[in-house]
Symmetry: C2
DNA sequence: TTGTAAGCGTTATCAG
DNA sequence: CTGATAACGCTTACAA
């Protein structure tokens, strides 16, 4: 009896079963075995069954490297997300993988940490791997990357945005329009002193940039353009949501509505508001973006924009599967977002103004 | 002279640059080009540089299928997680991918939705893809799956647990010991009426099962064994944390400490406690597990167990890289967890009991 | 140090 | 309907 050493044995295990082994056992040629697997309908049923039995007996599976070499197709798709730490991307990737898996594709994953150089490198590595399709996130991609894609001649789709430059097809939502609507909703409630917290620190985060533009545009159109100090830039952490709110209220203590470009920031802002003793929404309305699971469970529940991440993932999978097969595909797919009005937003308190203020009358 | 057949490989655009093209341009043999790429040190520098120039000129990259076929190595690793929706897994996958990428490996990802059958199928598909290593999650894997792994002869490691059955190496924490410590801490604070909320609904969630056992064992050892109604089973959603707390307090209104097997459940429980008007921690102590980003930002901040997810991901990558290379590898790696005492836990209020009691003297 | 040539396992073509 | 055979693009003995 051999005692298991702490050290893994270096030796290669028993050689893989190959098509020839099956052929020999079944007394047919390798070609026939191949046909049984790839075109069962052109093999005499009786023979087909016999071969199949041997295939199962030997637990034979085709070598994917050899298949890929022969056919030029890997049946593999790659995705590069900025990070998996954001639930919204994780959800999209999960849906993408599930749909691809149903169609016999396998998914390579990589992350760029919001760094365009890293994105390029990871993509290069994936292309060298011979992937048949590429899923990216966002609209901002260097022209270097676009020419890499072009040269590789691999179908690509970018996600979470409604359109992208360089002729790259996209599937996602119109981020700018979503925040514009959200802002208009707050305007209708009667707000006039706004603040925005936007995670536009990462150069490549065009989603948040578009969202910020939506806010700015709506407010400009309403004759209430945001001053630079009314916009606090942050990364995507909860803690930055807190400090951003604090800074915003230091500069503009009379703000009544804060629009955040992600739920994470909004949740941080709500936490800070609570700590500062500000009632949400009585004193301050706060809104987010993404509709993460927690949003609905906050106290008060967070008003936000729901992003159909799973649908984006599935749509990207379908797009690529069709494109790879040479089937016709749409140029772009704009998915609907959904404004979810919850209790973190309300009309501003009428009595907020400077001077001494009497007791609030509304409750 | 064999001209290229009229029927080009379906769908391929301009034929790929191959090693022979580079060789011709550089006036060397294909073997030399190959050596420049794979063993640069054994090629005369001058020649090497010339070849390199042509490689760059033509933007040549090796066909990975052909390489894999020849070498029997795909330089590819696969991971199967229950879901990416849990930040803890997303974080681990991200770290895993980053480390693998540094070593020239690419990561296939799949998810099982906590379903052992799906896990088996996904693994089968990955193995057919010729992956060189496998990362799994948790200790519970059917013997069918284990024999599949054995037969494939591919290195494997399972994560987030300290040990697994079937001789599978593991990297992770001792979940049972962690909750035992947490429970003992609450006992030391003076709690005697406990409740547990555990996401043990998914049959394959052995992490939470182990955590629950840790709680039970500590309480049994303290002579305070949990009754079945003191244990509420849930899935891993925030909403279930809410309803679980409500149910627990319906059955045992005098509970002073609730131990949850995940932060998500704990956060749900805290939300519900607030809604019910129960002060945390004054009336009720609540603890979680995972130390997600939000835990520290809660009000009050959540006492929890910090799980080194990134370290687990990196460790799994290193393990596989070594195992694939035939280097010695440890049988298992137990990583330290960290109890993070925050303000959601405190001694029970002395005045909860029936009969009158003197004022507490300790403060 | 560089070139030649033999496969790696599969599948498509063509002949039987 | 089935069998022999020639690639697919690359790496690595082995030869020069």
């Amino acid at each position: 009896m051999d005692k298991k050493p702490v050290i893994a044995p270096k030796g290669r295990q028993q050689p893989r079963v190959k098509i020839e082994d099956v052929a020999r056992k079944a007394n047919v040629s390798p070609a026939t075995v191949s046909r049984v697997l790839n075109h069962p309908d052109i093999v005499r049923p009786e023979l087909r069954d016999r071969v199949m039995r041997h295939i199962n007996d030997l637990a034979y599976t085709r070598d994917s490297a050899a298949r890929a070499l022969k056919s030029g197709r890997m049946r593999t798709v790659g995705v590069i997300v900025p990070t998996l730490a954001l639930g919204i991307f994780a959800e999209g990737v999960e849906a993408l993988q599930n749909r691809l898996s149903e169609s016999g594709y396998t998914l390579f994953i990589a992350n760029s940490q919001y760094d365009q150089r890293r994105e390029f490198q990871e993509l290069q590595s994936l292309i060298e791997r011979g992937i048949d399709g590429i899923v990216l996130v966002g609209a901002s991609h260097g022209r270097e990357l676009r020419s890499l894609i072009e040269q590789a001649g691999v179908p690509v789709i970018t996600t979470y945005v409604a359109k992208a430059g360089g002729g790259i097809p996209a599937i996602g939502i119109d981020n700018e329009s979503a925040t514009r609507e959200m802002t208009e909703y707050l305007l209708r409630l009667g707000h006039v002193r706004f603040g925005a917290i936007a995670n536009v620190v990462a150069a490549s985060n065009d989603r948040s940039r578009a969202r910020l533009e939506g806010i700015q545009r709506a407010l400009s159109d309403a004759g209430l353009p945001l001053k630079p100090t009314q916009i606090v830039k942050a990364d995507y952490s909860l803690a930055q949501g807190r400090s951003a709110l604090r800074q915003l209220l230091t500069d503009h203590p009379d703000t009544t509505a804060v629009i955040c470009t992600t739920d994470t920031l909004a949740i941080g802002a709500m936490a800070e508001a609570r700590k500062m003793g500000l009632a949400v929404p009585a004193t301050l309305s706060i809104t987010g973006f993404d509709d993460v699971e927690l949003a609905a469970q906050m106290d008060p529940p967070l008003t936000t924009v729901s992003v159909p991440a799973a649908e984006i993932g599935r749509g990207a999978a379908d797009y690529l599967i069709n494109a790879i097969a040479g089937s016709p595909v749409p140029r772009s797919v704009v998915l609907p977002y959904r404004l979810v009005m919850r209790s973190s937003s309300a009309p501003p308190r009428p009595s907020v103004r400077p001077a001494r203020r009497g007791r609030s009358r509304d409750h």
